[in-house]
Symmetry: C2
Subunit: 342 residues, 2 copies
DNA sequence: GTGAAAGCGCTAACAG
DNA sequence: CTGTTAGCGCTTTCAC
């Protein structure tokens, strides 16, 4: 039976339970000899400290929560996987907590979660990473947290970011290098700061190549497939069309592809399309979509690591880690087509 | 500060803490008057029972885990959402635990999880729901669990199932009703019992319509997009081709669509294609895929409910709930084309 | 270096 | 219907 408590380990080892506790928690002031003896006996007995008792006594729960409001299940899955890996290593529990950024109740809802679950810390994902009300509440409440993909206020917590502006700049440069000058843009969800960043990078690349933005070719999407379709219908039914469309994510790019197909505009011959995120659909659809791959799982891993570190060492400094993305050139991009459809 | 413990509630209410405890847990033997007084005061103070203390004292953790080994992130997301809803209502925590069904370590890994996290119960999803080693271990270990989409041994635990055999039968009937008699089939992952069920329903429908199965048109996939492509390449390069292909899920159907496009076989004019699961890609790809929609979130909700019920009432009976699926007719299916391509 | 005592916040098992 | 006494398994505090 799993009635192996610290007491039985202590008894078998002929030491006090405090000593066992010290060994378990890697505290100093235990002789190497004692430490080894206790370790061995604990191992032998298959002793597992009871997290509840531990938590009750030390006023911790060893529970973290992952907050998200994101319909991109693939992204969330990667985030979860990354966070989970560290949690398992560090013997933390991870609670997942989908929530609604648009809800007025968001802060209350999170407050409720924190107090009910006695959370030790939070991992925030976009767009929650940049929600002032939430951030301010957590700061005021002194709840430790770490942010993934944050763009603002980078000194108030640890964060792991991906520099979408720069990546977007490079993607745009790639299109320009192919020879495109008439480039449309489908914006992402206005609540996501990544959407703004991606647009900024796009603008900067055009400017530095001395290409003027054609405002009508810039449409507001919201990261969904449907919004991609709608924007594409706007752009591709104009008399003057761009030769390329930069979409702020792959779902929207897929929507653009669908509309292009309906309008019998051949991709990439008559129209180049790019996405962002390397979602599965970018590989499954045809033509496959040129896109940006971000180390999402890694970002979550490192973020969670930063959080736990902060939990262990209260006075550690906040860190901001920036991870590199990769440009994946696939079938949806080519030099612009001159002349008639072949 | 959240130093509001049961003691302060008891003091304010002028009762013993045991009475407060009784009220909190809805135990009998408290006068309505006392109950109301305690409830009000607790509310006033914003008192939240400490789950750790509660767990330690009552030898429960109020933690459930959701086990899965499934690359379909949309499915997993729905399952999570459903399970989470009940957990929040019932004040349970939900741990997510991706694992590898193929690993020899699976049982050890789960055993480790159970003992480390002091789990109260488990929610199993396919293909884990039908893993004898795992089931036997949990049974032997007396760990409560519930299964989603189980097909075997339905009396050893509660389960929520979806009768894929029947649904698959109906989908096949639909194809037959359109006039198809030359129907191919792409099987799902051999480790998933759903794959076998879906094939059985297909076979039964053909048999009852007196249509012989053309063995070469039956290919073994594994629920991935790539496997769909491979199977399609087999089937669609034969001299004699079917006029319809039933794919055991939407990803494989999407793969088939891609290959059909490459081979310039027009869907649905020259080939009807059906999927299963109503994955997002079935709506995003063109033509949109006729498929089966299962109430996945609901299944998870009800399963979790059954588990928690069992936890509360130890001697409650095991239940098996069967939920209905829906056939969604979309663009990828039509009567078979007679004559030349238009 | 080690241990004894106290207590985290709650529920169990009884007694009244 | 209500209260008392223990004690869950661990960490904390402080003494040795």
């Amino acid at each position: 039976m799993s009635k192996i408590t610290i007491n039985v380990v202590a008894a078998k080892a002929n030491v006090s339970k405090k000593t066992v506790s010290r060994v378990l928690n890697n505290e100093p002031n235990v002789s190497d000899e004692t430490r080894k003896k206790v370790t061995d006996i604990a191992e032998d007995l298959g002793y597992k400290p009871n997290p509840l008792a531990r938590g009750l006594a030390s006023n911790q729960s060893f529970i973290l929560a992952l907050l998200y409001d994101n319909p991109n299940t693939n992204y969330i899955n990667n985030i979860q996987t990354g966070a989970l890996k560290i949690c398992q290593d560090e013997e933390y529990h991870l609670l997942i907590h989908p929530c609604k950024a648009s809800s007025k109740e968001l802060v209350n809802n999170v407050a409720e979660l924190i107090s009910h679950s006695r959370l030790d810390g939070l991992v925030l994902t976009p767009p929650l990473s940049d929600f002032p009300e939430l951030i301010n509440f957590l700061l005021a409440n002194k709840t430790p947290f770490v942010r993934i993909g944050a763009t603002e206020n980078l000194t108030c917590s640890s964060a792991v970011v991906s520099n979408d502006e720069q990546t977007s700049f490079e993607m745009t440069q790639y299109l320009i290098s192919l020879g495109h000058t008439a480039i449309g843009f489908v914006k992402g969800h206005p609540q996501h700061n990544s959407a703004a960043e991606r647009f900024l990078g796009f603008q900067r690349a055009l400017k530095s190549a001395n290409i003027k933005i054609h405002e009508q070719w810039v449409q507001q999407g919201d990261y969904t497939f449907n919004s991609g379709e709608n924007c594409a219908r706007q752009i591709l039914t104009m008399a003057e069309k761009p030769s390329a469309i930069f979409c702020s994510n792959d779902y929207m790019a897929a929507g653009v592809l669908k509309v292009a197909n309906q309008l019998e505009i051949s991709v990439p011959h008559q129209l180049s399309v790019t996405g962002f995120d390397d979602a599965p659909i970018s590989r499954h659809i045809w033509p496959t979509i040129s896109t940006i791959q971000q180390p999402v799982e890694d970002m979550a891993r490192q973020a969670t690591e930063l959080l736990i570190e902060k939990l262990k060492i209260t006075d550690s400094k906040y860190a901001t880690l920036s991870l590199e993305s990769r440009l994946l050139k696939r079938e949806s991009t080519s030099p612009p087509f001159k002349g008639k459809k072949s």
